[in-house]
Point group: C2
Chain length 986, copies 2
Amino acid sequence: MLTMQDALARLTKYWTEQGCLTVQPMNTEVGAGTLNPATFLRVLGPEPWKVVYVEPSVRPDDSRYGENPNRLQTHTQLQVILKPDPGNPQELYLGSLAALGIDVAAHDVRFVEDNWASPALGAWGLGWEVWLDGLEITQFTYFQQAGGLNLDPVSVEITYGIERIIMALQEKTHFKEIAYAPGVSYGEVFAQSEYEMSRYYLDDADIEANRRLLEIYAGEAQRMIDAGLPVPAHSYVLKCSQAFNVLDSRGAVSTAERAAEFARMRRLAGEVAKLWVGRRAELEHPLGLTEPLDAARAAAAVQTGTGERTLVFEIGTEELPPSELRSAREQVMRLMTEGLAGTRLAHGDIRVFGTPRRLIAVVQAVGAREDDHERVVRGPKAQAAYGADGTPTKALEGFVRGQGVTVADVETVELNGVPHVVVTKHEAGRAAPTVLAGVLAQVVTGLRAAKNMRWNDPKLTFSRPVRWLVALWGDDVVPVAVSTLSAGRETRLLRTAATPVVAIESAESFLETLGVNGIVADHEDRRELIVIGAQDLVYPDGTIDVKGESSLIDQITDLVEQPLPLLGTFDEKYLELPDPVLTTVMRKHQRYLPVRSADGTLLPMFVTVANGPVDVELVRGGNEAVLRARYEDAAFFYRADLATPIADMRAKLARLTFTDRLGSMADRADRIAALALRLAAMLGLESGALSRAAELIKFDLGSQLVTEMTSLAGVMGRDYALHAGEDRVVAQAVLDTELPRNTGDSLPLTVPGALLSIADRLDLVAGLAATVGLPTGSSDPFAVRRAVLGLFAVQRGVPALAGLDLVEGLKLAAEAQPVEVPAPLLTEIAEFFAKRLEQALTEEGQPVDRVRAVLPHAARPSQADMLLGQLAPAVSDPGFIAVAGAVQRARRIVPAGTPAGYDAAVLSEPAELALHAAVDKIEVSGITDVASFVAVTQPLVTPLGTFFDEVFVMAEDPTVRAARLGLLATVRDLGDGLLDWAHLRF
Amino acid sequence: MLTMQDALARLTKYWTEQGCLTVQPMNTEVGAGTLNPATFLRVLGPEPWKVVYVEPSVRPDDSRYGENPNRLQTHTQLQVILKPDPGNPQELYLGSLAALGIDVAAHDVRFVEDNWASPALGAWGLGWEVWLDGLEITQFTYFQQAGGLNLDPVSVEITYGIERIIMALQEKTHFKEIAYAPGVSYGEVFAQSEYEMSRYYLDDADIEANRRLLEIYAGEAQRMIDAGLPVPAHSYVLKCSQAFNVLDSRGAVSTAERAAEFARMRRLAGEVAKLWVGRRAELEHPLGLTEPLDAARAAAAVQTGTGERTLVFEIGTEELPPSELRSAREQVMRLMTEGLAGTRLAHGDIRVFGTPRRLIAVVQAVGAREDDHERVVRGPKAQAAYGADGTPTKALEGFVRGQGVTVADVETVELNGVPHVVVTKHEAGRAAPTVLAGVLAQVVTGLRAAKNMRWNDPKLTFSRPVRWLVALWGDDVVPVAVSTLSAGRETRLLRTAATPVVAIESAESFLETLGVNGIVADHEDRRELIVIGAQDLVYPDGTIDVKGESSLIDQITDLVEQPLPLLGTFDEKYLELPDPVLTTVMRKHQRYLPVRSADGTLLPMFVTVANGPVDVELVRGGNEAVLRARYEDAAFFYRADLATPIADMRAKLARLTFTDRLGSMADRADRIAALALRLAAMLGLESGALSRAAELIKFDLGSQLVTEMTSLAGVMGRDYALHAGEDRVVAQAVLDTELPRNTGDSLPLTVPGALLSIADRLDLVAGLAATVGLPTGSSDPFAVRRAVLGLFAVQRGVPALAGLDLVEGLKLAAEAQPVEVPAPLLTEIAEFFAKRLEQALTEEGQPVDRVRAVLPHAARPSQADMLLGQLAPAVSDPGFIAVAGAVQRARRIVPAGTPAGYDAAVLSEPAELALHAAVDKIEVSGITDVASFVAVTQPLVTPLGTFFDEVFVMAEDPTVRAARLGLLATVRDLGDGLLDWAHLRF
């Protein structure tokens, strides 16, 4: 059996043979190998660096006293850095698995999108988790930025999770059982330390002491930065990070503190990085400089075909994220279409396919050449081309020399009515390969993703590296060269295929060749294989909810090239866990399809989709082990939670800080409860269920399962409340409080829950606005915008709350904050509400003018909804148009600030007297709908028209002028409070 | 070329193949691999543990900015722990060198005594530095105690200094040049870190911040101890140690602080160790228990010889320290002599030999058997043995039964005049092997060293492990069995010999067999080989100062079994270094013999003595490289020092703390200077030289060379002062201030120097007594006793100081302290002086009664010397005896407290009047010598005798009684101030 220490030695040896240095773990606690200066500092700057080292990585948060089979406060990473990217790092990585004795062809080894970022380090990269039969064993990242600096060259970072790999290889179900060395288990060596360090991190670390450590470390880090010494400074940044992690695992870090500490660490790490780069430059880069790769030379342009042939263009990539693959296919389609349109080549249909490792464009019937073409080149004006005597001027001579013709070749034509000298050139159509080379190159360089990265190519950028190109027009290679890549006829199959590279004979045989080798290029084909395969596997006992799992299936479809659905099972005992727990694990963590019986209940099975012809039993077994471990974790927490009284979980909220100035989560829950009761009183919505639910809300934040799987907050609250015998409405209201969790999420089902949901969000907004400020720009760390959208959704969606004024509610929330919320800030928040509502309604497709017209009701979005509903037909109603026109006209004429009201006695002209009479009769108070308002104000339209036609408002007599303006101001103000008329456009 | 990373991999692989676990370096800074819990905690308790790991070891004090070729703030240790001792750890170790490609037979690999202790860890062990051609490459220790706990089983700790080994193997002269990996040098990877961390440790670390860290760490360590968690507690002890080391390298630790911090760390480490042992027991020792070795069975007792034969007994050991070897030879001689005397075996001369690896006793002509023997066993008294009727009593029956005889066998004899029943038993003499087995076993178990250790043997204890026994009487093996060892006829030669084990045919051929195989058993033979060999090597250019280097030669002689003197040279340029620097390095660090020309000047060569038939050129080259590196270091510092003005070095004293309450070394030097000037004024010894020297003293503590080689303090001061153009007397006085450095060391040569030396020691004693207290028991961390002995030596040895009263001087020193020195403490110190002087004089061989008699002069030891000189003849002089007897007699009669003086008018009896008359005539004031006092007081002797014979002192009349007592008290007090007469014995 491969022992853990042998595995470390073998990996180290393998990577050393690939030219890596071996260095030692960091001699201060680090959370990951990335923090070791052998990564964090060395990836900076232009020097090459290849290294392998072991890093015992300390995650105080993962402390479980050694009881959890898969979670350790110190786990062992093996870290590899390849700088620059060697061009084939995935293949090298697979070689390392083989060095461990893993048959990568028999197993399902997958590169699953995982974008890594460390806000505290100002670092990020794009890459994958590597899955071995569903088990994440490695983090594989193209490091793009560290310390806020762009990395050039880019480094490849490969981080192995050794305990997980070894548990899988040794088929152990608890880390303590790992054979660490011959005859010695992991537990025998490390269990005591796991237990004791867990005790320290979870229970016994002194919070005050660690706070002081954090401050001292930050101070020393800053001093060393000031002294220009990045190495000791970095070491102190790491110590900061560890002290922070200890505080965090002790539950002593508030949201605001976290943000502040991350900002400080990011700033320090950034300064360290800058210093390091500067110092290495001063030292003249002791390890030398990385040479950029040379540009590729295109294949020779050879054209053997003369008729129409198919064009195929394959862009070979490393595994693209499913979300990017769809967009990439669309881009290729657009770029191909536009590119070909820019040529004079005849062509037929364009189709685009994509798998995680390739984007393929297939164009039917592409002509062998462009048609020949006459081109008219404009020269000087005739007047300037010839002297008075008709002899060519210098200007003309210059022109013909430039065009490579003689004066005899030019003619004079009228262009825009002016005679010009022109020359007509005959241009032969270019051969297809030549023309296509330019088009295809543009396709590659034009690709962009939502998040783009760089690799060893000095010019390209995309979601993941582009590694090869196949470009064939019929039998001929299209001589594309893009940066370091040149196209050929060799495509790559699965990396584990017997022949991983095959030559394609002709464009026409390309898809067939892929297909013969198992690769299904078309998304729809793959999807069908998956759906049918999965359904076959579960038939007749179960079903797959193909519609409900549609987005998951789409994602799975774009994770494989050669889908092989496999049925796995899990122990029925796990069905005691709530459905959302089981399915969250399957979908979110494992991309497994849940299997349900006809009545919709979960069955103890799942479908996973492997990539390629793996050893089915092996892969099934591996996936089942992974799911078992995850469910074992969840069951462990669930049982513990069920054994815990709700009151005890609720009591833990006192230890969870919300933010330092806004108190604990318990304080927050108390405020929410009180606010909901006040709102209920205002609206006459009091109930026993509300009172009880108000006592319970958020208690599940104190449960272990929610601590682990935060997305289940509320869901578990309902579950635990029901288990504890609470009323169904009460239990639902506990969940409702958390709804909606994001745009499009369910709304509260109960009125008590709706009130609590509103109170939750008002409390959040009031408190954070007063302490952190309202979000600006793209930064909204506390998701205040999302909370405001939630307020709108609930107020609009729950009819019982139609009367609720959010700004009134906000004022109540503000009064309950432990900090002062000044009046001007409340105004600011109300404006913020209005802006957000404007944006939301506009995004829903409402015309912006109407949206703005109803914004006075931003505090009651349901009212705005109603008015918008009324405006939709009204805007084409002549009566409404007339009234609105009248009001707007009055508004335009009357200077701002002019009060309504006038001395009727001053009026004398008939038109003004008529208007006065009409105005005098109108009573608009209490009108809240558009139709009524129009009906009531209709009599004004004609007198007002006459008034404008006949009365000169700006009379010389100031008394008269004032009266006339006052009259118009009265008209202007009639619609106040209903709509903001000025915005309406017709 | 073997790169450094390959070397680490090879050693790890080698030890893994020997069954060691591989673990990772500690993830907090440690000064040595020993601190890693894989050593410090795992050596505790009964569980077996074999481990190998790399440990980057941080020594802030060794920071040199990466400039020094051999010194790094972080060097790489490879640490191996073998628990229990496998019995052949040295051989396993040599195997590891072979695994590195080192030909251990061609090189001179030596195990040179080095006893390791870490006061801060409460840990110690005995073992060696391993030298490779004079270069220390490994620390090899039998770990005896950790955290104050005795270790059972004992662990073997092997610590490789990787950079040094690699530099030697790669023949590099600077660590930066080491080939770390193919194409990458050590400097390219680590030089920047060396520089920056040196900056932190030497210049930039914030002292206040690190002090706070130290306190927080210690607090957390204690809290974790209280929580019963040894693992996190240990981690914080390590952090304490690092914070302390940082403070130390920043020069911020006073002597007292150091002692206090060490005490705290020792206490914490001790508690951690106890907790760990307890926790492992609670966990039922997950790694199992070490089985103790079985006792050996003796060889079968076979006797083939019948005549007298030689006995040879060899006790094979691992390398004994030279100092222990001499003592061990003496012990073997004594134990053999006594043991044989306890037998009835005839034997001839006993000779004992020793080399580092064996103790050999050779006894000539040992008889084949003991003579037969009659033994009389005493029974009950005859009276109790027979009843009145002559029948045997129960007592007699019991006796004969016990002796295995019958009543008929007994006879009655008179013993001490009382008739007893006895039985006479004939005992046959035992065979020599049987008799000798017991004697020889006692020799092994009886061996003891100044410092004893334990190894894998459950019963034996000695300076180093005993590994084999050879015991032959003639041709026969003596069947000795001691604990796990049984004697045979196989001895071991050099470990690198072609046949490392040979069988000995007979005792008579033993020494010859050793000799034939190159091993020189006799110290004197080896010494002669070394002396003659060395002299031959340097002839005719140089000489070896055989007499002056006698103790070094003795030491070298006992470091080898097969001496091979080698001549090495060094670059003449190093001769610019002062002689004491060069010779200190040679003698103390390298055990090389200096070579001098006829006129005594050093030549650029040295003699080292290898062990066994090595590759001479290789070993010479290696030793030369070691010396070059050491001289390069020294030259580096010396040049730097010479380039530094004395004032600058002196200014550094302000940054060296003496103790926290007694200020900096600058403060101390200032106090010494002022005190010396006051003493000079008192004694009329002022001079310009004194004034100047007083300004300079101790300045060389601010030099780099003295920082490195503290034993050169003063010596370098003189050298640098002379280079700076100071007067010779001034320069010498700077050295004199430090003299004597220990008992037997030179005394100051100049009067200014003597005054400064006295002032130095008075300041030390006064200050420390007031802050730390006078030394008690065996604890004297600040060497106050040595300082006091120095005071005596200087006052006694420098005639100009004869008038100096040390207690008066002490008072002046006390006044100058920054802390109060209370009057009672001064009295206590004066008493301390007297006790120390009493002890010193007694140890010099002075009779204790006379010493006590002169102790009133303890403040002026030279006066005590003089009086002792006078007492020596006086004690046999009848006149002195009479006077002394008179004074003592008067003292005995007069009650304590009776004042001298009397009313002469009350006296009436002739004898008392005669005594009065004699007393009245005597004038003793001003007499300071014994002879004068005797001469002056001689007239008293007769009247006093008569007085005692004739006068009844205790008269009834109180007036008379008082006068008589007063008269005797006057006699009693005549010798006061000269001697303490009461102590004199005749």
